[in-house]
């Protein structure tokens, strides 16, 4: 047991539900102010993780989002048990986030441009992609194709969901095949990589956007940093696998601060006329 010096200064106490400490600069941020600033640190610009609901509020025009496949839930194809059963883990994640699984999909408008929008939520089992995430994203892509509306996916995921084994792995092929059909049909697909986007999600649809945007400081990579540092037996340099690292190496188009994200997406969507929708200019 550590002895406290009774004459020393008492540590500052902040009621935790009112204040959040910025992990980057250590500044204490008033939660309400943080929320007003789109969960970006007012001092250093650190981007906090954003839940799916807040992300929708940020990107979609007010009240424009109509959710689809809202009631789809996962089954337990393998009867998977680690320290908890898989259904228990899902139930816990549902209770924690209020979502049925790790992605919300639907239609919305972004600066009055109708889109099919999907946002992932890292809070739900690490945003992992299992059958439900794969199916909802595939349906979103298929809807975008049918409506000839641009697809915008905001990724936040640790990768494929281990609890669904190879079925989860096959979601990589499934989602890639679905966005590839958009590619062939000339329907725009904008992929937004947020903190974190790793593993099977980055190694599938998330890397394949016509435009790939990333949020500042987001962790983006194929292998977990721990695996990589174990592979080479040394610590990784600072900034490894961060959004700016990917920008430097040519794998994302832009790193866009959260405050400008919506208008930037709208700019690209406005520039990309959907083939077959308005071809007068080319005639």
């Amino acid at each position: 047991m550590r002895l406290r010096n009774p004459f020393g200064r008492k540590p500052k106490e902040f009621p935790s539900h009112l204040w959040t400490q910025c992990p980057n600069c250590g500044e204490m941020l008033f939660n309400k102010q943080l929320a007003r600033n789109q969960s970006v640190c007012t001092n250093c610009g650190h981007h906090f993780k954003l839940g799916a609901k807040e992300r929708l509020e940020l990107l979609a025009d007010a009240r424009s989002f109509t959710e689809t496949d809202a009631d789809m839930v996962s089954s337990d194809p393998l009867g998977f048990v680690d320290s908890k059963t898989y259904p228990d883990r899902i139930a816990a994640a549902q209770a924690k986030t209020g979502h049925k699984d790790a992605v919300l999909t639907g239609t919305a408008t972004i600066s009055d441009i109708p889109v099919v929008l999907a946002v992932m939520d890292f809070e739900f089992m690490g945003g992992s992609m299992g059958s439900v995430v794969g199916e909802k994203l595939t349906r979103a892509a298929e809807r975008a194709l049918a409506d000839r509306a641009p697809l915008v996916i905001v990724a936040a995921s640790g990768g494929a969901r281990m609890q669904e084994g190879t079925i989860a792995l096959m979601q990589l092929a499934k989602t890639v095949a679905a966005v590839t059909r958009l590619d062939e049909a000339g329907v725009p697909f904008v992929s937004v990589l947020t903190d974190p986007t790793t593993g099977g999600v980055l190694a599938s649809f998330a890397s394949l956007g016509d435009i790939v945007l990333a949020e500042p400081g987001a962790l983006i990579g194929f292998s977990g940093a721990r695996v990589t540092s174990e592979t080479i037996g040394e610590k990784l340099p600072k900034g490894f696998q961060r959004a700016e690292f990917l920008l430097d190496h040519g794998f994302v188009d832009q790193v866009v601060p959260r405050a400008q994200l919506k208008e930037r997406i709208a700019f690209f969507l406005g520039a990309f006329r959907v083939a077959g929708q308005d071809l007068r200019w080319s005639l």
């Binding site: 009240r63 496949d69 009631d71 789809m72 839930v73 996962s74 089954s75 194809p77 393998l78 998977f80 048990v81 680690d82 320290s83 299992g130 059958s131 439900v132 794969g134 199916e135 494929a160 969901r161 281990m162 669904e164 084994g165 190879t166 079925i167 989860a168 792995l169 096959m170 979601q171 990589l172 092929a173 499934k174 890639v176 095949a177 679905a178 590839t180 590619d183 062939e184 593993g199 099977g200 980055l202 190694a203 599938s204 649809f205 998330a206 890397s207 394949l208 990579g221 194929f222 292998s223 695996v227 990589t228 592979t231 080479i232 990784l236 490894f240 690292f245 190496h249 040519g250 794998f251």
Partner: protein, 320 residues
């Protein structure tokens, strides 16, 4: 033809009726009544260093193999071998992940863990197959894509995603054979095909048992339990439909007799390609889409069970 291939995804009790069973293929898990090896035994066998690796299989199954090197961008990755060869007199493109049979060879081959340039070489060869209307055969055998920092710098995830993308719409028949380890995305990058076969003792998993154990049980020593839970062995893959059929190995495993294993692979490949080359390409592509589209088990309330709340009149008027 359409129906027959489309019905092949789930190996139910009726099995995959369309696959010629006389070709030594196992399409029904009933063949394993009571004598299934444990998941951990499967992992050990699949990783056996004496197992036939891609080049062992290529030299025995194909004739006149000519290897093609390099991704035309960065370098040649020795963990992926690719080339043009003849299979029963028909020219085909073959791409495989190459492990070593000794420690030295394994170091040279990076233990069968490809770099992004390896996948980009594979993509180049896929496109070659499409351009010249050659069927494509891929041989999967990797613990996973290389997780080092150079691989990250050169875009491992993008390379894998692109490889999956190119395969998913490649306008030529593709047969995939999982020889040993099918390690996650690194394996799937070679694993999108019209027919996916696996050797009897091969494994295919979303993450290595060690990796899964480290994350879920917080101890790599629990790998055995993780392997069991992940259902990664041949018969399990047949049940989930991830592979369409298993190729029988000689008694004691593929490492005991490379020639017999190769002969079984050859019979299976010839039979499958014989069938696939007659399917119109447009049908192949839509069936391939459907094959991967249908993976996943989700539960949805039936239509009508969850009624949308009616919009009040004033919302309709306001257009909200």
């Amino acid at each position: 033809m359409l129906e027959r291939i489309a019905g092949s995804r789930r190996a139910g009790p009726e099995g995959n009726g369309h696959l010629p069973v006389d070709a030594g293929l196992i399409t029904d898990t009933a063949a394993y009544a009571g004598e299934r090896p444990t998941a951990w035994q499967a992992v050990q066998t699949a990783r056996n260093i004496g197992r036939p690796h891609a080049l062992d299989v290529i030299s025995r199954v194909f004739d006149r193999f000519q290897e093609l090197h390099g991704d035309r961008g960065f370098r040649d990755d020795p963990a992926i071998v690719a080339g043009i060869a003849e299979l029963g007199g028909r020219p085909v493109v073959v791409v495989g992940q190459q492990k070593g049979a000794s420690t030295e060879e394994n170091i040279e081959r990076n233990f069968g863990m490809p770099y992004p340039e390896g996948y980009r070489k594979a993509i180049r060869c896929y496109r070659l197959a499409e351009k010249f209307h050659l069927p494509l055969v891929t041989l999967v055998d990797t613990p996973g894509a290389y997780p080092g920092p150079e691989a990250e710098e050169r875009g491992q995830a993008e390379a894998i995603a692109s490889s999956i993308q190119v395969m998913s719409r490649l306008a030529t028949p593709i047969v995939v054979v999982v020889l040993g380890e099918g390690g996650s995305g690194g394996a799937l990058a070679l694993g999108v095909g019209d027919v996916v076969l696996a050797l009897e003792n091969a494994i295919y998993s979303v993450i290595s048992p060690e990796g899964s154990a480290a994350i879920l049980w917080r101890s790599a020593a629990e790998a055995e339990r993780a392997a069991q839970a992940m259902k990664l062995a041949g018969p399990d893959l047949l049940e989930t439909g991830v592979v369409d059929a298993l190729i029988k190995e000689p008694a004691g495993g593929a490492h005991t007799d490379h020639d017999a294993t190769a002969a079984a692979i050859k019979t299976a490949l010839v039979a499958q390609l014989e069938r696939l080359v007659r399917v119109p390409v447009a049908d192949l592509l839509s069936l391939r889409y459907e094959r991967f589209r249908s993976f996943g088990t989700v539960v949805e309330p039936r239509a009508g069970e969850v009624a949308a709340p009616p919009r009040p009149w004033w919302r309709r008027v306001l257009g909200r």
